[in-house]
Amino acid sequence: MPGPLLEIRNLQLDFGRGAKAVRAVDGVSFHIDPGETLCLVGESGCGKSVTALSVARLLPSPPAHYAGGQILLEGQDVLRMDKQQLRRIRGGVVSYVFQEPGASLNPVFRVGHQILESLKLHRPEAAKAEEVVRLLKLVGIPAPESRMRDYPHQMSGGMQQRVMIAMALASRPRLLIADEPTTALDVTIQAQIIELLRDLKQQFGMAMLLITHNLGIVGDIADRLAVMYAGQIVELAPARALLARPLHPYTRALMNSVPELGGSGGRLQAIGGSVPLPGQFPPGCRFYPRCPSARPECADKPPELREVEPGRWVRSFYSL
């Protein structure tokens, strides 16, 4: 099929309505091609998770309210779909893996049963124990024949996350959305899961939307990178180029504020202030109050996201 797998155009998402409405996502646009991995990076409250949840309309509405924009999944607008169509794309086209595997699995069913349930729904012809074993083997669970009889609490966090990934893969999605899949895990387990996601992506040519606050893990896996701040994309670029030479002051400040292993040990370049909450975004450029290279005019007018180099988009008057 020609064209991108997912295209989000000028998405505007409010919580609440009328005078009490708080805009959490304000004019986010990006696309993902088949087989491509896009990482959405940002701190808490920047709107990255709610953007990701919107792709399959997983936010309860109300309080969520889509004030504008389009989410085109294989050319069809998710925001205009009825319940039946939504059920078809959930799992069928797009699957999710969440941050807390322990909270996403049902504690009273064996993990094999939960994977089987996903198969019954999406691929009834394959809903057999052999397929469950194959999926568990695929995500690297040792002795899958016996582990499928485990309850979630009998597994470690890393194993639970592998089960979640197996469940997401059961329906053979074209897009896998992983929302902070490694944040709750230890460093060595985190490395295992990232390795697994990268393998699976290569094996199945699946597209991936990876949400994270950790710039470190994106270099290994992302093709392109979108950095979000206060409900907007502030920088969008090929991952390597962005990490090698960030153009937005926020991206640069974020990278500089993290100590590097084996670094000089000098004083860290902290970003002043704190992350603004939705509903309290400053006028003008939203990063202006914390920006090290801000100028007076930044407070007056919000900057547009513009293409400063081929494929590199930046929302700043003074890209570095």
Binding site: M159, T188, G262, G265, S274
Partner: protein, 321 residues
């Protein structure tokens, strides 16, 4: 003289089963750990979840009862202190907690939270001196004296952590145990708190026992680093040595697993198989041998002692050179 000396400390928690709460085994959360800390020094404590680093930190400030071993603070054995004697000695060692949302009483104003410690240790002769002291402390952590009248919920995560730091500083301790003080904070705010802790150490000279799982943060702030695995010390060395030339295979894997921002760096990543084993049934011999990429036959039977591989560089591995 060392400010803190921990000798063969053990913290074992009983695991109970059944109707009569029969003790079925023990979780050896901290198993035979020894360490020293000089005045004004920062010792980083790293390891994955369940390795016992938080338990060790809490046992040192006597929030958890040790099962065996000795804790010497300023030359005095505080392992068995109780009641009023312990409270008096606590003036010397304080703690900063991980979660700035749950470690501040929501019903107390910031001034009351900080002032409580001043009252307990009778550090202010009168009310005016107390107010002045609270104002100074808030100023020292980058807040305004006017904030003393507000409640914790009015502050952001980073500001709350500053309040926690001011509370710990109120009694001018010689040692502050920092238990994951930045891991609950946004990335852009973490650097502020790390800088603040370093500035305060330079100005006031407390020693830090800095417990964290983020190796890059620990390396940045620590003079020496201690790596724990399943309740035991696996490596102890200067921060520089442990990152540039780790001796223990676990430390090597841990360092290689730290994600790097720079895509150009071509580091070899050691991906460890399997999970951390249960501390109720730790493997025999070296606790790390089931996951170790270089394990030999004797690693499965002999527990490797912590030995000095190079001057000041200790590792608990049969094969470390």
């Amino acid at each position: 003289m060392n400010l803190l000396e921990v000798q063969n400390l053990k913290v074992h928690f009983p695991v109970k089963h059944g109707l009569f709460s029969r003790v079925a085994g023990h979780v050896k959360a901290v198993d035979d750990v020894s360490l020293t800390l000089a005045p004004g020094e920062t010792l980083g404590l790293v390891g994955e979840s369940g390795c016992g680093k938080t338990t060790l930190g809490r046992a040192i400030v006597r929030l958890i009862e040790p099962t065996a071993g000795r804790i010497l603070f300023d030359g005095e054995d505080i392992t068995a202190l109780k009641g009023g004697a312990l409270r008096t000695r606590r003036r010397g060692f304080q703690m900063i907690f991980q979660d700035p949302y749950s470690s501040l009483n929501p019903r107390m104003t910031v001034g009351e939270i900080i002032g409580e410690a001043i009252d307990i240790h009778r550090l202010a002769p009168d009310r005016a001196a107390r107010e002045k002291r609270i104002g100074e402390l808030l100023d020292a952590v980058g807040l305004s004296p006017l904030h003393a009248l507000r409640y914790p919920h009015e502050f952001s995560g980073g500001q709350r952590q500053r309040i926690g730091i001011a509370r710990a500083l109120a009694v001018e301790p010689k040692l502050i145990v920092c238990d994951e003080p930045v891991s609950a904070l946004d990335v852009s705010v973490q650097a502020q708190i790390i800088n603040l802790l370093q500035d305060l150490q330079r100005q006031r000279g407390p020693a830090y026992l800095f417990v964290a799982h983020d190796l890059a943060v620990v390396e940045h702030i620590s003079h020496r680093v201690l790596v724990m695995y399943l309740g035991r010390v696996v490596e102890l060395a200067s921060a520089r040595a442990i990152i540039s030339a780790p001796k223990h295979p676990y430390t090597q894997a841990l360092i290689s697993a730290v994600p790097v921002v720079d895509p150009a760096s071509k580091r070899r990543r050691i991906v460890l198989p399997g999970d951390v084993p249960s501390p109720i049934h730790p493997p025999p011999g070296c606790p790390f041998h089931p996951r170790c990429p270089v394990a030999e036959a004797r690693c499965g039977s002999e527990v490797p002692p912590l030995r000095e591989v190079e001057p000041g560089h200790f590792a608990a591995c049969h094969l470390a050179k």
